[in-house]
């Protein structure tokens, strides 16, 4: 049992490690470059290898995310475990003896003013206390959100080939595109007209006018052009190519159920990155213990500036 437990801990540590993440990112970068050099993507690169890298990275991101969330929630708790260790890598440490608890309280008041972070405990000091204080709590969730966003994007990218479908059609004016009957989409399209928009200095823009049919009955009209696809019942129809002289239009019909996941990932990534960069949380870990000459105060900060008064022992 002990060996299984040790093995599980080792595997978990490996999956959470930044080193594995770096190695997978580097491999993905090298694979991308190699895939491009050997022809149109993915070139000579086996699709299975790419998927394996994506799944590995998703697993690593999930483990990192769970570890970061645990660290963030631990940081928010004002009553950390009594193990006697601070839940962060300290950048400043102070250890000092006092004769009475009133002196400890006075010193903490001076420190609080100096560093701009209230260090006093949530309840009166009793002589054997341990507490954690912080400011800007939102900042703790910047990195977890960033990783969650990337994970959502990666899941969307990996699942898309299995869950989605893409079909390309070329059709002419007056022709029916039997998407509903032949391919099981929720509607069909009757292409009524192919138009060209003259935009002065810009290149001409092609426009496909179509009637939307459901069960062979018209239910609406659509103008499809580049940057303005038709979107209906989870299906998108894009203007792909056009040969105006031949009255021929190319339409891309796409079902992508993972798209909301990917867009959610974009938003969460952006918010996470913005939070991580703009909101800098600060943490302080304070412990007071009885000592032969009164009380001993241990103070750890996860920031190096500003620091408390220097009349203490900096460790």
């Amino acid at each position: 049992m002990e060996s299984i437990r040790r093995c599980t801990v080792r595997v978990w540590s490996l999956l959470c490690s930044a080193k594995l993440g770096l190695a997978l990112i580097a491999l993905l970068a090298v694979a991308s470059a190699y895939g491009l050099l050997t022809g149109p993507w993915p070139g000579a690169l086996p699709q299975g290898l790419l998927t394996a890298l994506q799944v590995g990275l998703a697993l690593n991101l999930s483990c990192c995310l769970s570890r970061q969330l645990r660290a963030a929630t631990r940081s928010l708790s004002s009553h950390p475990s009594t193990e006697g260790r601070q839940p962060f890598a300290p950048r400043y440490g102070l250890s000092r003896s006092f004769h009475s608890l009133a002196e400890v309280d006075d010193f903490l008041t001076i420190c609080s003013r100096r560093i701009g972070l209230r260090l006093q405990p949530p309840r009166p000091i009793r002589g054997e206390d341990l507490w954690l204080v912080h400011d800007n709590p939102l900042g703790f969730f910047g990195l977890p959100l960033l990783h969650l966003g990337l994970l959502l994007i990666l899941i969307g990218l990996t699942l898309q080939p299995w869950l989605g479908s893409t079909r390309y059609f070329e059709t002419t004016e007056g022709a029916l595109l039997p998407l509903e009957e032949a391919y099981g989409y929720p509607f069909s399209l009757l292409v009524t007209n192919l138009d060209v928009l003259d935009r002065g200095n810009a290149a001409p823009e092609y426009l496909t006018h179509a009637v939307i049919l459901e069960h062979q009955r018209p239910v609406g009209q659509a103008d499809i052009r580049v940057n303005h696809p038709l979107q209906r019942d989870g299906v998108k129809v894009y203007q792909a190519t056009a040969m105006f002289e031949k009255k021929l239009t190319g339409l891309l019909v796409k079902e992508e159920p993972t798209l909301p996941l990917v867009y959610a990932g974009f938003i969460v990534t952006g918010v996470g990155l913005a939070l991580h960069y703009t909101v800098q949380p600060r943490r302080a870990w304070v412990a007071v213990n009885p000592s032969p000459d009164g009380y001993r105060l241990h103070l750890s900060l996860d920031f190096a500036s500003p620091t408390p008064p220097k009349d203490g022992t900096v460790s």
């Binding site: 970068a29 491009l36 993507w41 002065g200 810009a202 580049v226 940057n227 952006g270």
Partner: protein
């Protein structure tokens, strides 16, 4: 010669002059020369702004469409970030290198010519402004981090200047963070736009793949900062690699690999 050409040539001359003046201030360690270099760089930036605006007004569109226009904006972003971020003393060498890069970008833009490019339908989107706007800041910050990384490597070899290394590292770190944030936005805005225009938010198109590789390299740099062995020299070399990839994404990927980004 149009107003556009005159403004562009002025920007090129002043960027080169700024590079020389910053180099002189590094050698002589003179605050007055450094101040004069910032004034010269500011005039170059003003001319660059005028050139970009003139092109936009002449063509009656946002000048963000082709490589030459983007290079002009890249130089603009790099010069602006140099003025904003390298004001503290001790980084004049980095400012000299950044000004040279800006001059090189303007020179390349001049070589590209002022030919009018018909804007394709895919480019007629609000996402163009967002995508290219964020790319200007990202590439500018990466250019600046390259200049700072080179300065860091040079200063490491000079024991008399070791005292300034921690603050230089801090400046490099903040510049990369800025670039990484905007590069993330470049990828996101590009993906959303590609989904609307091409029907696929990610196509493994050469340019987007190389942009992803660039982003990954800077991601590796930011992760590596947590490991003590990666700090210092390896991190600086990684930034140099990152900027080489940035330049390749900008210039090489479009020419060497056929793809959707043929602008």
């Amino acid at each position: 010669m149009t107003l556009y050409d005159i403004a562009f040539m002025t920007a090129l001359i002043f960027y080169l002059a700024a590079a020389v003046t910053f180099a002189c201030s590094t050698v002589w360690r003179s605050q007055h020369v450094r101040g004069a270099a910032f004034v010269v760089l500011g005039i170059g930036l003003g001319s660059n702004t005028l050139a970009v605006l003139a092109r936009g007004l002449i063509l009656e569109r946002w000048p963000l469409v082709n490589l030459g226009e983007f290079l002009a904006l890249f130089a603009w972003g790099l010069a602006l970030l140099t003025i904003l971020l390298l004001r503290r003393p001790g980084v004049s060498a980095a400012a000299a290198l950044a000004s040279s890069l800006a001059a090189g970008a303007v020179g390349a833009a001049v070589l590209q010519g002022a030919a009018h490019t018909a804007v394709s339908a895919a480019l007629q989107s609000l996402w163009l402004q967002l995508h290219v706007g964020t790319a200007v800041v990202a590439y500018g910050a990466f250019g600046l981090s390259f200049a700072l990384a080179v300065t860091y490597l040079v200063q490491r070899r000079c024991p008399m200047r070791h005292h300034g290394l921690p603050s230089l590292q801090n400046l490099i770190h903040n510049t990369v963070r800025l670039g990484f944030f905007f590069m993330t936005l470049v990828l996101i805005t590009g993906a959303v736009w590609a989904e609307q225009a091409w029907g696929s938010w990610w196509s493994w198109d050469p340019k987007e793949t190389w942009a992803l590789i660039t982003w990954l390299v800077y991601g590796v740099y930011l992760h590596g900062l947590r490991l003590p062995r990666w700090q210092g020299r390896p991190a600086a070399w990684l930034l140099i690699l990152g900027f080489c990839l940035t330049v390749f994404t900008l210039l090489g990927a479009g020419y060497l690999f056929p793809g959707l980004h043929q602008y």
